[in-house]
Amino acid sequence: MTTHSNAVRATLRDEIDFLISSGASQAARARLAELWREENGVASAAFVTSRFERLREQLALRPYRLTILRSFTVEPAVPLLRATAFLSAIDLAVRVGDFNAYAQEILDDGSWLYHSETDAVVLAVRTAEIAPDLWQSFTDLSPQEVEAATHRVADSLAQWIRAFRQRSQAPLIVHNLEQTSQPAIGVLDAQAANSQTAAIQSVNENLRRVAAEHRGVYVLDYDGLIARHGRLRWRDEQKWLTARMPIAAGQLVHLSNEWMRFLAPLTGKIAKALVVDLDNTLWGGVIGEDGITGIKCDSEYPGAAYQAMQRAMLDLAKRGILLAICSKNNPDDALEALTTHPGMLLRPKHFAAMRINWLDKAQNLRDIASELNIGIDSLAFVDDNPVERESVRAALPEVTVIELPDDPMEYANSLRDSPVFERLSLSAEDQQRTTYYVEQRERNDAERSFQSKEDFYRFLQQEAEVAPLSRASLGRIAQLTQKTNQFNLTTRRYTEQQIAERAETRGWQVNSIRVRDRFGDYGLVGLAITRDDGDTCEIDTFLLSCRVIGRTVETALLSHLAERAKARGCRRLSGWFLPTKKNAPARDFYAQHGFTLEAEGQDGTEWTFDLQEGEIACPEWIRLNVLTGVQN
């Protein structure tokens, strides 16, 4: 954090207030982001949140409600979290539970927790409070008593998680238990049979297992967080004793950032692609001047910084984040380095799109988004040059621009730190994503060689498989509702628990569609959620991943819905189209399939289809298999 001189500090704040009062809300937002990059602290957090509260009507912010149940004072960290959230376009309302009342709040059916609306819940408890014997008086315990204590604590955590999940659908983020900075038996703790560290670790291992057994329960590695920033620096014992605030002032921002790493994926504020510069970002030096033997990328200093950067990017690719290049260079020089330099961990096959030219970077980023078929706000951009970063921020405020420190050795950490790359579950599709894009390029090349679309469709030999919700598909289905923006008729976002609840409710159906063709397997790429209401089958959600838009898969899925609805005795299909900034590709879907406009509301249009009069046929070039089976 840089501390501004009072004059600079006041000037930027005055300018922001002037921009707000003159109605320049986007400019004010950009200056608030600048202020937050310069000084993200407790004081500036209050300034940033108070100004965003004045701007919230003008900016398209996503409202989100977070509840924090706690055994210690968290209030000073809340404005930091709200400020960070505002800058990610999330209008975060935070409710903090009563001090040390988390157990009653969770276990009591009549608790406010279950009678107020919340989108996610954090359970922030510490070893000192829930395991005082293991924490404070470990050497008083016999090995049997240590074992009993670890079971007691692990069982309490499991009981709270179970009780919460029985009463609420909301995602639950549970802090795990921190280790002491000085084990009670000293260095011997690392090898003793009766070890304090091992006891706390076993509680955390149990928490890991319990979380995996429940939907929408996530563990925040509080111990890892503290270790990363230094245990001795993290604590403030005096504030703990006087104000029940155990965390030192300078560390609060790290707790807030860690919470944000969960909020970003929960609210869908994530990057689907990372666009990187080359010179001095992916390798050290300038390829056009230093040549292939002069650039640095190896396991020694200083090339190791760039290899670490590439390793971080490879790890992100394994999470399903697409990589792309945007660099001012001669393409031949750059590609030669990428292909033949012995130190590169990333090769051309790792990049889903490349723009190596001398054009403006903002324009290249727009082109990359359009080539990858994702929104511009799904791009993250990393470049060592602050001027390029600033010009991208100015031209494309919706792009996440990763701030890099001066020292290249810290670059990889900046990538790994960013909440926009976090995912709370990884589907098989995520890990295969780059392959899908390479196959897609082959399809596009093939498409150009056909005279008619129909001939191309026949050539593709598409096979689709429709199946009811299963345990294996639940994660991917929820993910699609969270992430799909373009071919999405209602853009309703659901958590795994909400999807499961609907599938279990009488009258509701959740169906997904997988597609493969001669080029490869697209995986699970679409879904429909419907609800029978009398003799009408209402389409609650209908969406397709952008990968299969324009392949008539939507018609195949709709034909299945119509056929099943008719078989259940429905006379009509009905559905809303709720327009958003991004779902224009789905706008004419109902009209094109013979639906009649029934009503025009404030939020969108309602369409119906008479199942007794008409029929929706599956395209002859798609072989449709229908899996039945138990919905569990």
Binding site: N6, G41, E75, Q238, L241, T242, M245, A249, G250
Partner: protein
């Protein structure tokens, strides 16, 4: 005696309590600033610790009853090296 910390304390208070800096005097206190409650006082202390890069003792915090007193406590502290 002029205070070197006063302007900075006032700027932090202005951020936290959402009050224009020029309306804050050395006599401003929880009695005169409605937003300055006990939770905000703790947040204020932590903001000061962060900005001045000091750790304030419970005894010092007890003396911090208004803006002037806060500035005096901070003036009496040599600035620590960043942690």
């Amino acid at each position: 005696m002029t205070s070197t910390a006063f302007e900075q304390v006032r700027a932090i208070a202005s951020d936290l309590f959402v009050v224009p800096a020029q309306e804050i005097t050395s006599n401003s206190s929880p009695e005169t600033i409605p937003a300055w409650d006990s939770t905000q006082h703790l947040i204020f202390v932590m903001a000061l610790e962060e900005q001045f890069q000091v750790r304030l003792s419970p005894e010092e915090i007890e003396q911090m009853t208004n803006i002037g007193a806060i500035a005096r406590v901070l003036d009496s502290r040599p600035k620590n090296a960043p942690e």
